[in-house]
Symmetry: C2
Subunit: 283 residues, 2 copies
Amino acid sequence: MKTICDASLMQQDAEAARLRGSRLALVPTMGALHDGHVALLHAARGRADLVILSVFVNPTQFAEGEDYERYPRDIDRDSAIARESGVDVLFAPSPEGMYGKGFQSFVSVEGVSAPFEGESRPGHFRGVATVVAKLLNITKPHLAVFGQKDAQQVAVIRRMIRDLNFNVEILVVPTVREADGLAMSSRNAYLSPRERAEAAVLSASLRKAEELIRSGERRGEAIVETMRGMISSGTSGAIDYIAVADADSLARLTDLHTGQEVLITLAVRFGKTRLIDNIQITA
Amino acid sequence: MKTICDASLMQQDAEAARLRGSRLALVPTMGALHDGHVALLHAARGRADLVILSVFVNPTQFAEGEDYERYPRDIDRDSAIARESGVDVLFAPSPEGMYGKGFQSFVSVEGVSAPFEGESRPGHFRGVATVVAKLLNITKPHLAVFGQKDAQQVAVIRRMIRDLNFNVEILVVPTVREADGLAMSSRNAYLSPRERAEAAVLSASLRKAEELIRSGERRGEAIVETMRGMISSGTSGAIDYIAVADADSLARLTDLHTGQEVLITLAVRFGKTRLIDNIQITA
Protein backbone atom coordinates (compact mmCIF):
# COMPACT_ATOMS: atom_id res chain seq x y z
CA MET A 1 0.00 0.00 0.00
CA LYS A 2 1.17 3.43 -1.00
CA THR A 3 0.37 6.56 1.02
CA ILE A 4 0.01 9.86 -0.84
CA CYS A 5 -0.58 13.22 0.83
CA ASP A 6 -0.19 15.55 -2.13
CA ALA A 7 -3.22 16.11 -4.38
CA SER A 8 -1.17 16.65 -7.56
CA LEU A 9 0.81 13.44 -7.04
CA MET A 10 -2.41 11.56 -6.35
CA GLN A 11 -3.93 12.97 -9.55
CA GLN A 12 -0.87 11.99 -11.61
CA ASP A 13 -0.95 8.47 -10.18
CA ALA A 14 -4.67 8.11 -10.87
CA GLU A 15 -4.28 9.37 -14.44
CA ALA A 16 -1.38 6.97 -15.05
CA ALA A 17 -3.44 4.07 -13.70
CA ARG A 18 -6.37 4.97 -15.96
CA LEU A 19 -4.04 5.14 -18.97
CA ARG A 20 -2.76 1.66 -18.07
CA GLY A 21 -6.38 0.49 -18.34
CA SER A 22 -6.95 -0.06 -14.60
CA ARG A 23 -10.39 0.30 -13.07
CA LEU A 24 -10.22 2.68 -10.09
CA ALA A 25 -12.49 2.76 -7.04
CA LEU A 26 -12.57 5.54 -4.45
CA VAL A 27 -13.78 5.08 -0.88
CA PRO A 28 -13.98 8.59 0.62
CA THR A 29 -13.91 8.69 4.43
CA MET A 30 -13.05 10.94 7.35
CA GLY A 31 -10.96 8.16 8.88
CA ALA A 32 -11.56 6.70 12.36
CA LEU A 33 -12.27 3.55 10.39
CA HIS A 34 -14.72 0.95 11.72
CA ASP A 35 -16.37 -2.15 10.27
CA GLY A 36 -18.77 0.02 8.27
CA HIS A 37 -15.79 1.46 6.38
CA VAL A 38 -14.26 -1.99 6.01
CA ALA A 39 -17.47 -3.13 4.28
CA LEU A 40 -17.04 -0.24 1.81
CA LEU A 41 -13.42 -1.24 1.19
CA HIS A 42 -14.35 -4.88 0.60
CA ALA A 43 -17.08 -3.84 -1.85
CA ALA A 44 -14.53 -1.66 -3.69
CA ARG A 45 -11.88 -4.41 -3.64
CA GLY A 46 -14.26 -6.79 -5.41
CA ARG A 47 -15.01 -4.30 -8.18
CA ALA A 48 -11.77 -2.51 -9.06
CA ASP A 49 -8.11 -3.03 -9.91
CA LEU A 50 -6.97 -0.10 -7.81
CA VAL A 51 -8.69 0.78 -4.53
CA ILE A 52 -8.08 4.31 -3.26
CA LEU A 53 -9.09 5.17 0.31
CA SER A 54 -9.21 8.85 1.15
CA VAL A 55 -8.94 9.87 4.78
CA PHE A 56 -9.73 13.55 5.29
CA VAL A 57 -11.62 15.24 8.11
CA ASN A 58 -13.17 17.90 5.89
CA PRO A 59 -13.45 21.26 7.68
CA THR A 60 -15.99 22.73 5.23
CA GLN A 61 -18.69 20.20 6.15
CA PHE A 62 -18.61 21.06 9.86
CA ALA A 63 -20.68 24.03 11.00
CA GLU A 64 -19.41 26.44 13.66
CA GLY A 65 -19.60 24.76 17.08
CA GLU A 66 -19.67 21.20 15.72
CA ASP A 67 -17.06 18.54 16.46
CA TYR A 68 -14.42 19.32 13.80
CA GLU A 69 -11.61 19.71 16.34
CA ARG A 70 -12.50 16.71 18.48
CA TYR A 71 -13.44 14.38 15.60
CA PRO A 72 -11.30 11.23 16.17
CA ARG A 73 -8.07 11.08 14.14
CA ASP A 74 -5.66 8.13 14.14
CA ILE A 75 -3.90 7.77 10.80
CA ASP A 76 -1.63 4.92 11.95
CA ARG A 77 -4.60 2.79 12.99
CA ASP A 78 -6.50 3.75 9.81
CA SER A 79 -3.45 2.88 7.75
CA ALA A 80 -3.19 -0.58 9.33
CA ILE A 81 -6.90 -1.27 8.72
CA ALA A 82 -6.57 -0.02 5.13
CA ARG A 83 -3.63 -2.35 4.51
CA GLU A 84 -5.55 -5.33 5.93
CA SER A 85 -8.57 -4.42 3.79
CA GLY A 86 -6.63 -4.54 0.52
CA VAL A 87 -6.33 -0.81 -0.13
CA ASP A 88 -3.77 0.07 -2.83
CA VAL A 89 -3.50 3.80 -2.22
CA LEU A 90 -4.21 5.71 0.97
CA PHE A 91 -4.79 9.37 0.09
CA ALA A 92 -4.43 11.48 3.22
CA PRO A 93 -4.19 15.17 2.32
CA SER A 94 -3.81 18.04 4.78
CA PRO A 95 -6.48 20.74 5.22
CA GLU A 96 -4.00 23.26 3.76
CA GLY A 97 -3.41 20.99 0.76
CA MET A 98 -7.14 20.72 0.07
CA TYR A 99 -8.10 24.32 0.86
CA GLY A 100 -5.21 26.50 -0.21
CA LYS A 101 -4.81 30.27 0.00
CA GLY A 102 -7.77 32.13 -1.48
CA PHE A 103 -10.02 29.08 -1.75
CA GLN A 104 -13.47 30.31 -2.76
CA SER A 105 -15.24 27.76 -5.01
CA PHE A 106 -18.11 25.62 -3.76
CA VAL A 107 -20.57 23.10 -5.15
CA SER A 108 -24.15 23.44 -3.92
CA VAL A 109 -26.94 20.95 -4.50
CA GLU A 110 -30.13 22.82 -3.74
CA GLY A 111 -33.23 20.66 -3.29
CA VAL A 112 -32.02 17.44 -1.70
CA SER A 113 -29.62 19.33 0.60
CA ALA A 114 -32.40 21.37 2.17
CA PRO A 115 -34.33 19.11 4.60
CA PHE A 116 -33.18 16.95 7.55
CA GLU A 117 -29.40 17.27 7.95
CA GLY A 118 -29.51 20.44 5.83
CA GLU A 119 -31.84 22.12 8.34
CA SER A 120 -29.85 20.97 11.36
CA ARG A 121 -26.38 21.52 9.90
CA PRO A 122 -26.27 24.68 7.75
CA GLY A 123 -23.63 24.44 5.03
CA HIS A 124 -22.94 20.76 5.73
CA PHE A 125 -23.87 19.45 2.29
CA ARG A 126 -22.16 22.33 0.49
CA GLY A 127 -19.00 21.16 2.24
CA VAL A 128 -19.71 17.52 1.38
CA ALA A 129 -20.48 18.21 -2.29
CA THR A 130 -17.41 20.43 -2.60
CA VAL A 131 -14.98 17.95 -1.07
CA VAL A 132 -16.44 15.03 -3.03
CA ALA A 133 -16.13 17.02 -6.29
CA LYS A 134 -12.49 17.69 -5.37
CA LEU A 135 -11.82 14.05 -4.46
CA LEU A 136 -13.40 12.81 -7.70
CA ASN A 137 -11.21 15.20 -9.71
CA ILE A 138 -8.09 14.23 -7.77
CA THR A 139 -8.55 10.44 -7.75
CA LYS A 140 -10.42 10.03 -11.10
CA PRO A 141 -12.29 6.88 -10.08
CA HIS A 142 -14.57 4.77 -12.26
CA LEU A 143 -16.49 3.83 -9.11
CA ALA A 144 -17.08 5.66 -5.81
CA VAL A 145 -18.37 3.76 -2.79
CA PHE A 146 -20.56 5.27 -0.05
CA GLY A 147 -22.47 3.93 2.94
CA GLN A 148 -26.26 3.84 3.21
CA LYS A 149 -25.79 5.17 6.75
CA ASP A 150 -25.40 8.66 5.23
CA ALA A 151 -28.52 8.37 3.05
CA GLN A 152 -28.99 12.07 2.43
CA GLN A 153 -25.31 12.46 1.57
CA VAL A 154 -25.80 9.71 -1.02
CA ALA A 155 -28.82 11.55 -2.47
CA VAL A 156 -26.81 14.80 -2.64
CA ILE A 157 -23.82 13.15 -4.30
CA ARG A 158 -25.95 11.20 -6.78
CA ARG A 159 -27.63 14.44 -7.77
CA MET A 160 -24.31 16.32 -8.08
CA ILE A 161 -22.79 13.57 -10.21
CA ARG A 162 -25.77 13.52 -12.55
CA ASP A 163 -26.12 17.33 -12.74
CA LEU A 164 -22.42 18.13 -13.22
CA ASN A 165 -21.70 15.13 -15.48
CA PHE A 166 -19.04 13.50 -13.32
CA ASN A 167 -18.12 10.28 -15.14
CA VAL A 168 -18.33 7.97 -12.15
CA GLU A 169 -20.54 5.14 -11.00
CA ILE A 170 -21.88 5.13 -7.41
CA LEU A 171 -22.14 2.05 -5.22
CA VAL A 172 -24.09 2.26 -1.95
CA VAL A 173 -23.25 -0.35 0.69
CA PRO A 174 -25.75 -1.37 3.44
CA THR A 175 -25.23 0.03 6.93
CA VAL A 176 -23.17 -2.19 9.23
CA ARG A 177 -24.64 -2.47 12.73
CA GLU A 178 -23.50 -3.47 16.21
CA ALA A 179 -25.05 -6.58 17.80
CA ASP A 180 -27.88 -4.48 19.34
CA GLY A 181 -28.63 -2.76 16.03
CA LEU A 182 -26.78 0.55 16.55
CA ALA A 183 -25.42 1.77 13.22
CA MET A 184 -21.63 1.86 13.25
CA SER A 185 -20.31 5.42 13.39
CA SER A 186 -17.07 7.08 14.41
CA ARG A 187 -19.21 9.29 16.67
CA ASN A 188 -20.41 6.31 18.75
CA ALA A 189 -17.09 6.64 20.60
CA TYR A 190 -18.40 9.88 22.14
CA LEU A 191 -21.26 8.08 23.94
CA SER A 192 -21.25 7.37 27.69
CA PRO A 193 -22.08 3.73 28.61
CA ARG A 194 -25.65 4.73 29.46
CA GLU A 195 -26.11 6.72 26.25
CA ARG A 196 -24.61 3.84 24.28
CA ALA A 197 -27.20 1.45 25.75
CA GLU A 198 -30.08 3.87 25.09
CA ALA A 199 -28.97 4.50 21.49
CA ALA A 200 -30.14 1.04 20.46
CA VAL A 201 -33.65 2.53 20.38
CA LEU A 202 -32.84 4.25 17.08
CA SER A 203 -32.51 1.09 15.02
CA ALA A 204 -35.37 -0.48 17.00
CA SER A 205 -37.62 2.42 15.98
CA LEU A 206 -36.58 2.00 12.34
CA ARG A 207 -37.36 -1.72 12.49
CA LYS A 208 -40.74 -0.86 14.01
CA ALA A 209 -41.41 1.57 11.14
CA GLU A 210 -40.56 -1.14 8.63
CA GLU A 211 -42.91 -3.54 10.42
CA LEU A 212 -45.73 -0.98 10.32
CA ILE A 213 -45.27 -0.41 6.59
CA ARG A 214 -45.08 -4.16 5.91
CA SER A 215 -48.37 -4.58 7.74
CA GLY A 216 -50.05 -1.93 5.61
CA GLU A 217 -49.56 1.42 7.39
CA ARG A 218 -49.52 4.13 4.69
CA ARG A 219 -49.76 7.31 6.79
CA GLY A 220 -46.33 8.94 7.11
CA GLU A 221 -47.21 10.90 10.24
CA ALA A 222 -48.52 7.80 12.06
CA ILE A 223 -45.18 6.05 11.45
CA VAL A 224 -43.23 9.10 12.68
CA GLU A 225 -45.40 9.35 15.81
CA THR A 226 -44.85 5.71 16.72
CA MET A 227 -41.10 6.17 16.37
CA ARG A 228 -41.20 9.42 18.36
CA GLY A 229 -43.02 7.62 21.15
CA MET A 230 -40.44 4.82 21.32
CA ILE A 231 -37.51 7.25 21.48
CA SER A 232 -39.08 9.79 23.86
CA SER A 233 -40.41 7.32 26.39
CA GLY A 234 -37.65 5.74 28.38
CA THR A 235 -34.53 7.26 26.80
CA SER A 236 -32.78 10.61 27.17
CA GLY A 237 -32.61 11.02 23.38
CA ALA A 238 -33.54 14.50 22.10
CA ILE A 239 -35.11 14.15 18.68
CA ASP A 240 -33.73 16.43 16.00
CA TYR A 241 -35.93 15.03 13.22
CA ILE A 242 -37.74 11.85 12.24
CA ALA A 243 -39.03 11.69 8.69
CA VAL A 244 -40.65 9.39 6.19
CA ALA A 245 -39.60 10.64 2.75
CA ASP A 246 -39.37 9.76 -0.92
CA ALA A 247 -35.98 8.07 -1.30
CA ASP A 248 -35.02 10.04 -4.42
CA SER A 249 -36.37 13.58 -3.92
CA LEU A 250 -36.34 13.41 -0.08
CA ALA A 251 -39.77 15.07 -0.02
CA ARG A 252 -41.67 14.16 3.18
CA LEU A 253 -44.54 11.77 2.50
CA THR A 254 -48.02 12.20 3.91
CA ASP A 255 -49.27 9.07 2.18
CA LEU A 256 -47.07 6.19 1.06
CA HIS A 257 -47.86 4.48 -2.22
CA THR A 258 -47.34 0.75 -2.50
CA GLY A 259 -44.18 0.07 -4.51
CA GLN A 260 -42.67 3.47 -3.67
CA GLU A 261 -39.04 3.65 -2.48
CA VAL A 262 -39.23 5.17 0.99
CA LEU A 263 -36.48 6.55 3.22
CA ILE A 264 -37.11 6.59 6.95
CA THR A 265 -34.50 8.79 8.52
CA LEU A 266 -33.76 10.30 11.91
CA ALA A 267 -31.29 12.32 13.93
CA VAL A 268 -31.28 12.15 17.72
CA ARG A 269 -28.97 13.67 20.33
CA PHE A 270 -27.76 11.69 23.31
CA GLY A 271 -26.03 14.20 25.54
CA LYS A 272 -23.64 16.10 23.25
CA THR A 273 -23.56 13.34 20.65
CA ARG A 274 -25.75 13.58 17.59
CA LEU A 275 -26.49 10.27 15.88
CA ILE A 276 -28.20 9.60 12.55
CA ASP A 277 -29.68 6.43 11.15
CA ASN A 278 -32.06 5.39 8.38
CA ILE A 279 -33.52 2.54 6.44
CA GLN A 280 -34.70 2.51 2.85
CA ILE A 281 -37.53 0.15 1.94
CA THR A 282 -40.07 -0.44 -0.79
CA ALA A 283 -43.55 0.34 0.57
CA MET B 1 -15.53 16.78 -38.39
CA LYS B 2 -17.96 14.91 -36.20
CA THR B 3 -20.99 16.57 -34.59
CA ILE B 4 -22.20 15.22 -31.23
CA CYS B 5 -25.28 16.47 -29.40
CA ASP B 6 -25.52 13.91 -26.60
CA ALA B 7 -23.40 14.48 -23.47
CA SER B 8 -22.92 10.76 -22.71
CA LEU B 9 -21.73 10.02 -26.25
CA MET B 10 -19.37 13.01 -26.09
CA GLN B 11 -18.00 11.77 -22.77
CA GLN B 12 -17.45 8.25 -24.13
CA ASP B 13 -15.67 9.64 -27.19
CA ALA B 14 -13.47 11.88 -25.05
CA GLU B 15 -12.57 9.02 -22.69
CA ALA B 16 -11.73 6.75 -25.65
CA ALA B 17 -9.51 9.47 -27.15
CA ARG B 18 -7.68 9.93 -23.83
CA LEU B 19 -7.12 6.18 -23.56
CA ARG B 20 -5.65 6.23 -27.10
CA GLY B 21 -3.15 8.77 -25.76
CA SER B 22 -4.55 11.79 -27.61
CA ARG B 23 -4.19 15.29 -26.22
CA LEU B 24 -7.63 16.96 -26.11
CA ALA B 25 -8.41 20.67 -26.26
CA LEU B 26 -11.79 22.23 -25.55
CA VAL B 27 -12.91 25.60 -26.89
CA PRO B 28 -16.17 26.42 -25.10
CA THR B 29 -18.36 28.99 -26.90
CA MET B 30 -21.95 30.16 -27.22
CA GLY B 31 -21.65 29.97 -31.02
CA ALA B 32 -22.25 32.93 -33.36
CA LEU B 33 -18.60 32.41 -34.16
CA HIS B 34 -16.42 35.34 -35.23
CA ASP B 35 -12.70 35.88 -35.76
CA GLY B 36 -12.16 36.00 -32.01
CA HIS B 37 -13.39 32.40 -31.73
CA VAL B 38 -11.35 31.41 -34.77
CA ALA B 39 -8.23 32.64 -32.96
CA LEU B 40 -9.15 30.34 -30.02
CA LEU B 41 -9.62 27.40 -32.40
CA HIS B 42 -6.27 28.05 -34.10
CA ALA B 43 -4.54 28.21 -30.72
CA ALA B 44 -6.17 24.90 -29.76
CA ARG B 45 -5.33 23.30 -33.11
CA GLY B 46 -1.64 24.02 -32.61
CA ARG B 47 -1.61 22.44 -29.15
CA ALA B 48 -3.78 19.30 -29.30
CA ASP B 49 -4.49 16.14 -31.28
CA LEU B 50 -8.24 16.46 -30.89
CA VAL B 51 -9.95 19.87 -30.90
CA ILE B 52 -13.45 19.95 -29.43
CA LEU B 53 -15.60 23.04 -30.01
CA SER B 54 -18.66 23.33 -27.81
CA VAL B 55 -21.51 25.54 -28.99
CA PHE B 56 -24.10 26.08 -26.30
CA VAL B 57 -26.07 29.21 -25.43
CA ASN B 58 -26.12 28.54 -21.70
CA PRO B 59 -29.41 29.63 -20.10
CA THR B 60 -28.06 29.63 -16.53
CA GLN B 61 -25.60 32.46 -17.23
CA PHE B 62 -28.27 34.87 -18.45
CA ALA B 63 -30.19 36.86 -15.84
CA GLU B 64 -33.92 37.52 -16.17
CA GLY B 65 -34.50 40.18 -18.84
CA GLU B 66 -31.15 39.64 -20.58
CA ASP B 67 -30.74 38.55 -24.21
CA TYR B 68 -30.95 34.75 -23.85
CA GLU B 69 -33.81 34.43 -26.35
CA ARG B 70 -32.43 36.84 -28.95
CA TYR B 71 -28.77 35.76 -28.63
CA PRO B 72 -27.72 34.93 -32.23
CA ARG B 73 -27.87 31.21 -33.13
CA ASP B 74 -26.75 29.77 -36.49
CA ILE B 75 -25.39 26.26 -36.08
CA ASP B 76 -24.94 25.70 -39.83
CA ARG B 77 -22.72 28.76 -40.16
CA ASP B 78 -20.86 27.83 -36.92
CA SER B 79 -20.39 24.31 -38.22
CA ALA B 80 -18.86 25.56 -41.48
CA ILE B 81 -16.47 27.87 -39.61
CA ALA B 82 -15.55 25.04 -37.23
CA ARG B 83 -14.75 22.74 -40.14
CA GLU B 84 -12.57 25.41 -41.82
CA SER B 85 -10.79 26.00 -38.51
CA GLY B 86 -9.74 22.38 -38.11
CA VAL B 87 -12.20 21.34 -35.39
CA ASP B 88 -12.43 17.57 -34.90
CA VAL B 89 -15.59 17.40 -32.80
CA LEU B 90 -18.42 19.92 -32.63
CA PHE B 91 -20.32 19.36 -29.37
CA ALA B 92 -23.72 21.04 -29.62
CA PRO B 93 -25.98 19.89 -26.79
CA SER B 94 -29.58 21.01 -26.21
CA PRO B 95 -30.64 22.98 -23.11
CA GLU B 96 -32.70 19.95 -22.06
CA GLY B 97 -29.68 17.70 -22.51
CA MET B 98 -27.54 19.92 -20.30
CA TYR B 99 -30.15 20.78 -17.67
CA GLY B 100 -32.38 17.74 -17.30
CA LYS B 101 -35.37 17.22 -15.00
CA GLY B 102 -34.64 18.14 -11.40
CA PHE B 103 -31.32 19.89 -12.12
CA GLN B 104 -30.20 21.58 -8.89
CA SER B 105 -26.38 21.56 -8.62
CA PHE B 106 -24.32 24.70 -9.09
CA VAL B 107 -20.70 25.77 -8.80
CA SER B 108 -20.13 29.18 -7.20
CA VAL B 109 -16.84 31.05 -7.08
CA GLU B 110 -17.27 33.67 -4.41
CA GLY B 111 -14.64 36.43 -4.40
CA VAL B 112 -13.69 36.96 -8.03
CA SER B 113 -17.32 36.63 -9.16
CA ALA B 114 -18.50 39.50 -6.98
CA PRO B 115 -17.38 42.79 -8.61
CA PHE B 116 -17.91 44.22 -12.14
CA GLU B 117 -19.94 41.72 -14.20
CA GLY B 118 -21.04 40.02 -10.98
CA GLU B 119 -22.64 43.26 -9.73
CA SER B 120 -24.32 44.00 -13.05
CA ARG B 121 -25.38 40.44 -13.89
CA PRO B 122 -26.55 38.56 -10.76
CA GLY B 123 -25.99 34.81 -11.08
CA HIS B 124 -24.00 35.19 -14.30
CA PHE B 125 -20.76 33.63 -13.04
CA ARG B 126 -22.56 30.88 -11.15
CA GLY B 127 -24.03 29.91 -14.53
CA VAL B 128 -20.62 30.21 -16.21
CA ALA B 129 -18.78 28.16 -13.56
CA THR B 130 -21.51 25.51 -13.58
CA VAL B 131 -21.57 25.06 -17.34
CA VAL B 132 -17.78 25.06 -17.61
CA ALA B 133 -17.56 22.40 -14.85
CA LYS B 134 -20.08 20.32 -16.82
CA LEU B 135 -18.25 20.84 -20.12
CA LEU B 136 -14.91 19.88 -18.55
CA ASN B 137 -16.46 16.68 -17.16
CA ILE B 138 -18.13 15.87 -20.48
CA THR B 139 -15.21 16.60 -22.82
CA LYS B 140 -12.30 15.69 -20.48
CA PRO B 141 -9.79 18.04 -22.09
CA HIS B 142 -6.11 18.41 -21.25
CA LEU B 143 -6.36 22.06 -22.34
CA ALA B 144 -9.24 24.55 -22.34
CA VAL B 145 -8.97 27.74 -24.37
CA PHE B 146 -10.63 31.05 -23.44
CA GLY B 147 -10.50 34.61 -24.75
CA GLN B 148 -8.96 37.54 -22.84
CA LYS B 149 -12.08 39.50 -23.90
CA ASP B 150 -13.93 37.84 -20.99
CA ALA B 151 -11.21 38.62 -18.44
CA GLN B 152 -13.33 38.17 -15.33
CA GLN B 153 -14.71 34.88 -16.68
CA VAL B 154 -11.10 33.74 -17.06
CA ALA B 155 -10.37 34.72 -13.44
CA VAL B 156 -13.46 32.83 -12.24
CA ILE B 157 -12.62 29.70 -14.22
CA ARG B 158 -8.96 29.72 -13.21
CA ARG B 159 -10.05 29.93 -9.59
CA MET B 160 -12.62 27.14 -9.98
CA ILE B 161 -10.11 24.86 -11.69
CA ARG B 162 -7.55 25.41 -8.95
CA ASP B 163 -10.04 25.15 -6.06
CA LEU B 164 -11.91 22.07 -7.32
CA ASN B 165 -8.80 20.28 -8.69
CA PHE B 166 -9.92 20.03 -12.30
CA ASN B 167 -7.00 18.43 -14.14
CA VAL B 168 -6.88 20.87 -17.05
CA GLU B 169 -4.53 23.54 -18.31
CA ILE B 170 -5.96 26.95 -19.28
CA LEU B 171 -4.81 28.95 -22.30
CA VAL B 172 -5.93 32.57 -22.65
CA VAL B 173 -5.83 34.04 -26.16
CA PRO B 174 -5.54 37.82 -26.80
CA THR B 175 -8.67 39.73 -27.79
CA VAL B 176 -9.20 40.04 -31.55
CA ARG B 177 -10.28 43.52 -32.62
CA GLU B 178 -11.94 45.19 -35.60
CA ALA B 179 -9.92 47.73 -37.63
CA ASP B 180 -11.07 50.62 -35.38
CA GLY B 181 -10.20 48.70 -32.21
CA LEU B 182 -13.66 47.40 -31.22
CA ALA B 183 -13.29 44.01 -29.53
CA MET B 184 -14.99 41.28 -31.56
CA SER B 185 -18.19 40.08 -29.93
CA SER B 186 -21.32 38.29 -31.06
CA ARG B 187 -23.25 41.14 -29.46
CA ASN B 188 -21.71 43.74 -31.82
CA ALA B 189 -24.36 42.58 -34.33
CA TYR B 190 -27.00 44.25 -32.12
CA LEU B 191 -25.46 47.74 -32.64
CA SER B 192 -27.01 50.37 -34.93
CA PRO B 193 -24.52 51.95 -37.41
CA ARG B 194 -24.23 55.03 -35.18
CA GLU B 195 -23.72 52.96 -32.00
CA ARG B 196 -21.20 50.82 -33.86
CA ALA B 197 -19.18 53.93 -34.79
CA GLU B 198 -19.35 55.31 -31.23
CA ALA B 199 -18.31 51.97 -29.67
CA ALA B 200 -14.74 52.46 -30.91
CA VAL B 201 -14.30 54.79 -27.92
CA LEU B 202 -14.08 51.76 -25.60
CA SER B 203 -10.80 50.43 -26.96
CA ALA B 204 -9.55 53.99 -27.41
CA SER B 205 -10.14 54.63 -23.70
CA LEU B 206 -8.27 51.44 -22.80
CA ARG B 207 -5.33 52.46 -24.99
CA LYS B 208 -5.38 55.87 -23.27
CA ALA B 209 -5.28 54.13 -19.87
CA GLU B 210 -2.30 52.07 -20.98
CA GLU B 211 -0.54 55.24 -22.21
CA LEU B 212 -1.16 56.95 -18.84
CA ILE B 213 0.27 53.99 -16.92
CA ARG B 214 3.27 53.76 -19.27
CA SER B 215 3.96 57.43 -18.63
CA GLY B 216 3.90 56.91 -14.85
CA GLU B 217 0.31 57.44 -13.70
CA ARG B 218 -0.20 55.31 -10.58
CA ARG B 219 -3.54 56.59 -9.28
CA GLY B 220 -6.34 54.16 -10.19
CA GLU B 221 -9.09 56.77 -9.88
CA ALA B 222 -7.29 59.27 -12.16
CA ILE B 223 -7.11 56.62 -14.88
CA VAL B 224 -10.80 55.76 -14.48
CA GLU B 225 -11.77 59.45 -14.61
CA THR B 226 -9.88 60.02 -17.84
CA MET B 227 -11.60 57.03 -19.42
CA ARG B 228 -14.98 58.14 -18.09
CA GLY B 229 -14.45 61.58 -19.67
CA MET B 230 -13.61 60.08 -23.07
CA ILE B 231 -16.69 57.85 -23.11
CA SER B 232 -19.16 60.36 -21.64
CA SER B 233 -18.21 63.31 -23.82
CA GLY B 234 -19.28 62.82 -27.38
CA THR B 235 -20.88 59.34 -27.28
CA SER B 236 -24.24 58.01 -26.12
CA GLY B 237 -22.53 55.24 -24.11
CA ALA B 238 -23.96 54.70 -20.60
CA ILE B 239 -21.15 53.50 -18.34
CA ASP B 240 -21.93 50.44 -16.25
CA TYR B 241 -18.45 50.28 -14.69
CA ILE B 242 -14.85 51.22 -15.38
CA ALA B 243 -12.26 49.73 -13.07
CA VAL B 244 -8.53 49.42 -12.54
CA ALA B 245 -8.00 46.18 -10.64
CA ASP B 246 -5.46 43.59 -9.60
CA ALA B 247 -5.45 41.06 -12.45
CA ASP B 248 -5.59 38.05 -10.13
CA SER B 249 -7.84 38.99 -7.20
CA LEU B 250 -9.85 41.61 -9.18
CA ALA B 251 -9.63 43.95 -6.19
CA ARG B 252 -9.92 47.61 -7.30
CA LEU B 253 -6.61 49.46 -7.04
CA THR B 254 -6.24 52.89 -5.51
CA ASP B 255 -2.50 52.91 -6.12
CA LEU B 256 -0.72 50.88 -8.77
CA HIS B 257 2.64 49.35 -7.92
CA THR B 258 5.27 49.14 -10.60
CA GLY B 259 5.53 45.55 -11.82
CA GLN B 260 1.97 44.71 -10.76
CA GLU B 261 -0.33 42.90 -13.23
CA VAL B 262 -3.24 45.27 -13.76
CA LEU B 263 -6.61 44.67 -15.38
CA ILE B 264 -8.42 47.68 -16.80
CA THR B 265 -11.97 46.64 -17.49
CA LEU B 266 -15.23 48.28 -18.49
CA ALA B 267 -18.84 47.68 -19.43
CA VAL B 268 -20.81 50.29 -21.36
CA ARG B 269 -24.29 50.26 -22.86
CA PHE B 270 -25.00 51.64 -26.31
CA GLY B 271 -28.78 51.66 -26.62
CA LYS B 272 -29.89 48.20 -25.52
CA THR B 273 -26.51 46.64 -26.21
CA ARG B 274 -24.09 46.07 -23.36
CA LEU B 275 -20.44 45.77 -24.41
CA ILE B 276 -17.43 44.78 -22.31
CA ASP B 277 -13.73 45.21 -23.01
CA ASN B 278 -10.46 45.12 -21.08
CA ILE B 279 -6.72 45.13 -21.28
CA GLN B 280 -4.23 43.54 -18.94
CA ILE B 281 -0.83 45.18 -18.56
CA THR B 282 2.16 45.21 -16.26
CA ALA B 283 2.30 48.57 -14.45
